[in-house]
């Protein structure tokens, strides 16, 4: 009799969940590695120009960013359509660039303070006048190493 006893119905074997933590950790680690922290939201249009002779900006902790471009649509009403400078999370004038660089520099560890690079992320439609003013400000605070951040590509595409 017992040989042909029917299995009890409705009794599905439980799926083992022992490996669930592993899967979760794997996903966690994956996202940890591929995400980059976005430290400021962009208030300006920022389509970078193309260049082919670029060098990589290694080591993010040694870089100070300055964004330039015309304000995005939502800020257009308040700030107009002329290219503006964005430092951290707000618009700034040219005169504030120097003190911003000094403040950022003071935040970095001592040994990095002399090797900082200023990355200029400038919209391709900006005018050189503003950039020249920024460069002058950078020279005043002795932040001489600059990097004009660009996309990889054929530089002649810029001219269209």
């Amino acid at each position: 009799m017992s040989k042909f006893a029917k299995k009890k119905d409705g009794d599905l074997p439980a799926v083992s969940t022992a490996s669930l933590p592993d899967i979760v950790f794997m996903l966690l680690f994956f996202f940890m590695t591929v995400t980059t922290m976005k430290d400021s939201s962009l208030l300006v249009e920022n389509t970078l120009p193309n260049a082919s002779e670029t060098k990589k900006l290694e080591k993010k902790d040694r870089v100070i960013y300055i964004y330039v471009g015309k304000p995005t649509q939502e800020y257009e009403k308040v700030f107009g359509t002329e290219p503006k400078i964005q430092l951290n999370d707000k618009f700034a004038s040219v005169e504030e660039v120097g003190s911003y660089i000094l403040a950022e520099r003071a935040k970095k560890p001592q040994e990095l303070q002399n090797v900082l690079t200023t990355a200029l992320k400038v919209d391709k439609n900006a005018n050189m006048g503003l950039i020249t003013d920024i460069k002058q400000e950078l020279r005043k605070v002795n932040a001489l190493k600059v990097n004009y951040t660009t996309y990889e590509g054929d530089a002649f595409n810029n001219l269209q």
């Binding site: 082919s52 060098k55 439609n125 050189m128």
Partner: protein
């Protein structure tokens, strides 16, 4: 006879191994996106000493960009596409014959040697940033072209590639030490003298 319970449980012991395998795979293959751009040094605001350095006009290669994005190179109108070639010709002109690796025309009215050759870039306040970057790119490209040629001749590989490897923090330090001298040597053959400040001349 023991009674068989439902379906046998799947052994989950190796799941962790599979997870780690995948984790390591993604760790190795993903690269965090890095920004790239043109590196430049600005001139210090006050000159190191107040020695008036006199630079001969023929050693300066002037590039002017006007607000319409037109180029004036050495007082002649030039197309952007010709700029790189003109800059290369200027840099390795070798007017005084002291540079034994140059292949220039030895034109007496152009630069003496790469050591003395200076490129001076001026732009209008109304110049578009995109045009400026294109010009910068072409001028850096001219230097890279010459340096690549010399690096190929001396070490059989491109200068830009050597420099990138040298600057990459993942390169082992023994390789980097070896590259340092090579990179320095090629850099010194064609030192990058790209001035954006006012240059005194006579």
């Amino acid at each position: 006879m023991p009674r068989r319970k439902g379906a046998p449980e799947v052994n989950a012991g190796s799941m962790a191994d599979i997870a780690f395998l995948l984790l390591i795979f993604f760790l190795v293959t993903t690269t965090i996106e890095t920004d790239a751009g043109l590196d430049r040094m600005l001139p210090p605001i006050d000159p190191p000493e107040d020695v008036e350095v006199v630079i001969k006009q023929k050693n300066i290669f002037t590039v002017n960009i006007n607000k319409n994005g037109q180029l004036l190179v050495e007082d002649n109108l030039m197309q952007l596409r010709d700029l790189r070639k003109a800059a290369v010709a200027f840099l390795e002109n070798n007017g005084d014959g002291s540079c034994n690796y140059c292949k220039g025309r030895k034109d007496a009215t152009s630069s003496d040697n790469p050591e003395k050759a200076i490129i001076s870039l001026k732009n209008d306040r109304e110049t578009k940033y995109a045009t400026y970057i294109t010009v910068q790119n072409e001028l850096v490209g001219a230097y890279n072209e010459l340096r690549n040629r010399e690096a190929q001749r001396l070490y059989g590989r491109d200068f830009t590639e050597m420099e990138a490897e040298y600057l990459n923090p993942e390169t082992p330090s023994n390789v980097r030490d070896d590259l340092k001298d090579k990179v320095k040597r090629v850099q010194d053959m064609f030192p990058q003298k790209l001035s954006e400040a006012e240059t005194t001349s006579n």
